[in-house]
């Protein structure tokens, strides 16, 4: 058999590193050229294996593991430092929110202050001077002014209950009845205000103050008495 027929078998035997068997072994024993080619192939694969070992088992730089450990430390530290940053952000946000809410409430309170300072409390006796008859327009306008800030239920219950109002003289009993109906839910404050807002505003009637004229009496003449007093003193 010609040598070309053994070429593939020769290469495969060299690649596997196994000893040639059967016909190939016989041929290699008889053919010096093929024997030399087989030896060359084995040398080639040995060189490849040796080269691969060199490539695959390269010395590891001594700096690798320390570098990795340093990076791990840095990573752990940054993870730890992230927690305080997150907590600080959350605390800051909560603080800002609290300040905003408190300031908003204070502004609301200060907006009411001029009204409430000018008004008497609902529990006050009905004999309020007639100057205070501007109260009904105030009770109408306050909930409407704050309608956009507070829900209707809060306006109807909490604000009315604690809102000092001025009443025309003699209308306290009627106001008590209205307030009682409001508390029992028989009527809604907003409806009432809406109805009232359609009604024409009555002119305020302020009774004039009854001030009695002041009597001015002339002072007694005390100038004549003083010399006599002085004369007695001299005596």
């Amino acid at each position: 058999m010609p040598c070309e027929n053994y070429q593939d078998a020769l290469v495969e035997a060299a690649a596997t590193g196994a000893e040639p068997q059967g016909e190939l072994r016989t041929h290699l024993g008889a053919c010096a050229a093929c024997h030399a080619a087989f030896a060359q192939e084995r040398a080639l694969f040995s060189s490849i294996d040796a080269g691969l070992r060199v490539t695959s088992n390269a010395d590891v730089p001594a700096s690798l593991l320390p570098r990795v450990r340093a990076q791990l430390n840095h990573l752990s530290a940054s993870r730890r430092s992230w927690v305080p940053a997150w907590a600080v952000l959350a605390a800051t946000a909560a603080l800002i929110l609290t300040v905003v809410v408190v300031r908003g409430r204070r502004q609301d309170a200060s907006g009411q202050a001029p009204q409430s300072s000018a008004l008497a409390h609902a529990d006050l006796p009905a004999e309020i001077p007639a100057v205070a008859t501007g109260a009904p327009p105030q009770t109408n306008s306050w909930p409407q002014m704050n309608k956009h800030r507070l829900p209707a239920k809060i306006q109807a219950s909490a604000s009315i209950e604690h809102l000092p109002v001025l009443l025309p003289a003699g209308q306290k009993a009627a106001f008590d009845v209205w307030l009682d109906g409001l508390r029992r839910g028989k009527m809604k404050a907003n409806d009432l205000f809406a109805q009232n807002s359609d009604l024409p505003q009555q002119d305020l009637q302020i009774s004039p103050l009854d001030v009695s004229p002041i009597e001015v009496k002339p002072l007694a003449d005390v100038s004549g008495e003083s010399p006599s007093h002085g004369g007695e003193a001299r005596r």
Binding site: V11, S47, L64, L72, L75, A87
Partner: protein, 197 residues
């Protein structure tokens, strides 16, 4: 210096301590594997990149990536295989981006292609066959290359490689055989050239 521990809102001190302890355990467990598997990551990267500095960078990146995802690895026995895959992937990415960069640099800096003149020192220091081998290795398909590199590394049996890359031992043997044969075909002419010199 006293260490300050800030407790997160919504978490109790107990939870915080448990979390810290778990992190410390993870770190300790990873450190134990680091000394054993760090060189493996480097060698895989070195086999692909053929450059010490790049291989070190890639190995470091692979190890850090493995640490960050260490909690996700359910079977810790598969850490070596997992790390090998990470390092191999990263090295291939680096190789591709390096080739693109090299191509770009060549286009900008050398309008006319001129072969680099080798100095006398280069010629003396180079191992011609080794250079040809590494070039031939770089041209192998990825699957064959990884198996061949792992097989050439000290201490890896066929079964270990099979477990590492998740294929049968027969597949590993087959890949090694074809990989070596392809390398031989590429290098045969260089062996003759070397001999004739």
């Amino acid at each position: 210096m006293q260490e300050l521990v800030l407790v997160q809102p919504g978490r109790t001190v107990g939870d915080e301590l448990v979390h810290e302890a778990a992190q410390a355990d993870t770190r300790r467990e990873f450190e134990e594997r680091l000394a054993e598997c760090g060189p493996l990551a480097y060698r895989v990267a070195r086999g692909v990149l053929r450059n010490t500095a790049d291989a070190e960078d890639v190995a470091q990146e692979a190890l850090l990536r493995a640490y960050r995802r260490f909690d996700r690895l359910r079977d810790r026995k598969r850490f070596r295989a997992w790390l090998v895959r990470i390092a191999f992937r990263l090295a291939l990415d680096r190789l591709r981006s390096g080739k693109r960069r090299e191509h770009r640099d060549t286009l900008w800096s050398q309008p006319e292609h001129q072969p680099r003149a080798a100095s006398a020192e280069d010629l003396a220091a180079s191992n011609e066959f080794q250079a040809h081998l590494e070039n031939a290795l770089a041209e192998l398909p990825e699957k064959l290359r990884l198996v061949l590199l792992l097989a050439a590394m000290e201490g890896h049996t066929i079964d270990e490689i099979a477990a590492m890359i998740g294929v049968s031992a027969g597949t590993v043997k087959s890949r090694i055989f074809y990989a070596r044969k392809q390398l031989a075909e590429k290098l045969r002419c260089h062996v003759k050239i070397t001999k004739t010199r």
